[in-house]
Symmetry: D2
């Protein structure tokens, strides 16, 4: 499908945003980009994007605005402005019927606030956080989990399809964020639980590959055993077989677990497993593993200097 | 495949052993049965089995002996005897080249001890604990996880195939037990982790069915989301949609988690997630849910009288 | 010591604030009070306070302003105003050299923000959260944990001494809040840990009173064994011997644990024990115990319908 | 008090048993000693003990037998014999009315079995595990927690008083062991909980000494804050201020936690905090800290390479 009729503004061209914008260009969309880092803008310009000198300039004439930013305060500042710093938000310049797609992973409360405030001006907003990492961003195989009105979700689909493979509608504004962090909290539990089960098997003389195969065909089956075994040597081409490089960094998992537990505190939800995983990942990062793949949590259980 | 050339002794005809022995009869095996409960023996007799008055009598002339007993002390007593009570074990009467298949779920140490002691007399032994519950026992669709020599494993296969669908070779004696409890420990973690993720989504306004669908296609995917969703109403024909009746009882999960943590203590393995699940299942049982399906742990997170 | 030279404004006359203000009156301070609930104001008026129709009116001419409010947003609104609602804050009317003492238990970030903003106008601020409950408030035996400049701490002391017995200086603004929640997080861990140790002793045939005495004189000694034994019948005149009524409510502990874990998330601190306690208190409250004393967590471990 | 009328056999002269036997000699008891290590025997001989060539020889003519051994199997083997190895137990040679005091820290089940079996021959038995470490053993300031009949407890007291300062009667046989591990399980929870509270205070800018003082006088008070602060520099002359050397080793705490959780599994007790502590100590040991003082668990929370 060609996006040649679409005029897209893309704000935030980091490790994820850059390749995502590039995929829109490949799908023939008109893309105007902005980032605080001039090099990031130049890189996209070289691939066919129009460079803007500011976010305000980037969104002029855009049908669709996409943002990919680090945290909730950046998203709120971009769209609603920051009265403390006297900075205006895009809300003052966006035209009615523009669709805003925020793909940042942030707290749901901010997504809800931004969505509600934009809606008062007739501007549609969806939160559409992604999973799939930088590899997925480059390959255009990301997963998008979308929160917003059905009409906005449907309008976003062609554009998201140019950047991703799976697109889910989770519910109203904020639901995309909630669904993503619930999923990632569960993922952290799967990773830790699988690691300790595998290491206990090893400690009792079993072969981790045999144990993995058995659990994969039994009631212990889960995504980590299917695609991302944390035990070195069991599966080729995964981070555990590459000294835990590549993949999804421990500190990114910590960020998501922080958002998850913050959400649980606010909704008075009990999450003992998620809290356990969050603390283990915290300790793991503090011991120097923050930049390694999150499956390296396996090493908490398999330390080489294991003593009797 | 017909087992008409096989002469099998079956000891222990409870909720699991009874239907397992019946499936051997359906496959045309000659089956001689024993149980301390006369009714259980009579029931199998009516289906074509020969009744024995004792375990010793049951194993006479058998090629293969299968046992299905509640705990390690029963298995050890049956095969090795109990010097305190002056009871002799089957080890004194079994002929060389008999194959012993113990399908009880017990501690690996006992399996290893029994296997080693029988081997000294030339009697082959495999531990072959099952999963699949009473429904699987009746339908002949159990999963067997086998520990023992390859030759014994291969000899056991035709007989196990008459009672089950999946048959795994986990390693040497005891490995069947270890693999089963590692799997079930992980299963308990999946169940608790999935429950808390789903309830947190519900607490934040998401539909549990939508959330389940998203996680099923994302990195939170696991066996409970595929086949055994713990949230009432999401999936038909599972215990959660039937008031948590049927299925796999909380107190059976507690038994398996007890074996798992006992194993972890002995092998100095760290199992924080397994320990958390074990304690939560303990509390859940203490509050009166011991006989309900293990997916009812969901209610720890979704109590109706939830307060702000 | 007489406070007859002090003119105090007291804002927030709830279960804690009311008796605290009354103790200032007993110490001969001039006290002008305000609360949104007219009855609360009338009650203090009958004890000698001057009633104010608004917070602004209450603080006129006051040397010292004391506030006792439910949450951070109330404190921020009171002092800094709420631009969304067009409400001005006391910051616009307080005179230089006034000392503000906020005894609310709130997030440290708000205390720091309010303290810093007031300081810019020359107004001194201390956060001075209390422990000791309504009984301590009535008896004038509260503990105050104070965050702020030494000079402000010293100025606050005479007034705090009229309402409390122990007054600590924890550090700069916010440190009072941090110290209180660290202490209360640890208290929750002591309570749960002591409960499970006592119940395990009981489960193995020991007398809980004997076990308590032994631990009290050994390395398990802690505040709960000294003054607040959670096992019914061990200690007279504590909530556990009075069906867990009175004392410190489960839902207040949940509030403090919520503040603690929110702080831990922000400072990237690992708190596995605190997180465990928070989740157990959450579940306990969800099962209907929110209004009972926090030592009732003992019942999670001692459920009467305990099964084998 | 002089023990000159007492004839004591002491078996097991390790780091604890050696100095304990020496204190009996100082109190003028006649002491006959045995250990598998000849040097240990010679050392006591040089202090006035009679050396025996075997346990059987040591107990001849003894009124009181004391043993201090590493694990349950050693205690059972010593008193009841080991039929597998064809070794007889002291039960065959001890005279009626001998009092046996086993000060080993072992599983309660073995203490109960040994006590019951000896009782059938008219031999009194108490389990009397100690705390206080090698320093307490040398200084004669150990704590003994005794399980057994009141008459046996009273008979043991003078002898125990020569070796210790605090002597508790916990209940029947086995109760000494149970009480000790309940206490030590709680101690591990106090240590971890105090560590995480202190580090969270530090992470938020508080002085750990100030924070410790405040909690010591508040509801967070516990033995570790009184006598064994885990944060370096807060308290002089404790392991944390001496690079975590001396004191009570991590691997000894692991041993006690292993006994505690094994007990919990058998009595179906829920111990989420104890299980958490056990897993954290396990991981801490695996990372190379097994021989350091158990307060070094503080470092799990304060890692120097802490990242944001």
């Amino acid at each position: 499908m060609s996006l040649s009729n679409y005029s897209v503004a893309f704000i935030g061209l980091g490790n994820m945003g850059g390749p995502m914008a590039a995929n829109l260009l490949k799908a023939n969309a008109k893309v105007c980009v902005f980032d605080l880092v001039p090099q990031a803008v130049a890189e996209l310009q070289s691939q066919g994007a129009t460079a803007a000198a500011s976010a305000e300039e980037a969104v002029k004439g855009a049908d669709i605005v996409i943002s990919m930013l680090p945290a909730g305060r950046h998203v709120q500042g971009l769209y609603l402005g920051d009265s403390e710093r006297g900075v205006a938000g895009l809300i003052d310049v966006l035209e009615q019927n523009t669709l805003v797609i925020d793909s940042s992973t942030i707290d749901a409360a901010t997504s809800i606030l931004v969505g509600k405030t934009l809606a008062e001006k007739g501007i549609a907003f969806v939160d559409a956080p992604v999973s799939g990492g930088t590899a997925g961003a480059a390959a255009g195989t990301l997963t998008f989990i979308v929160g917003g009105e059905v009409s906005a979700y449907e309008k976003a689909q062609p554009v998201l399809s140019a950047m991703g493979k799976n697109i889910f509608h989770a519910g109203q504004n904020g639901a995309g964020q909630i669904a993503k962090i619930c999923n990632n909290m569960l993922l952290s539990v799967l990773m830790v639980g699988t690691s300790e089960a595998l290491q206990m098997a090893i400690d009792n003389g079993l072969d981790p590959k045999v144990m993995s195969d058995i659990m994969l065909q039994s009631s212990g089956r889960n995504w980590t055993l299917e695609l991302y075994n944390p035990c070195p040597g069991v599966m080729p081409n995964v981070p555990s077989s590459n000294d835990y490089t590549g993949g999804f960094m421990v500190d990114l998992m910590r960020k998501d677990l922080g958002l998850a537990l913050d959400t649980a505190l606010k909704s008075h939800s009990s999450t003992p497993m998620g809290a356990m995983a969050q603390n283990l990942y915290n300790m793991h990062s503090m011991q120097g593993s923050g930049m390694r793949d999150f499956s390296s949590i396996f090493e908490l259980f398999s330390a080489q200097n294991k003593q009797q």
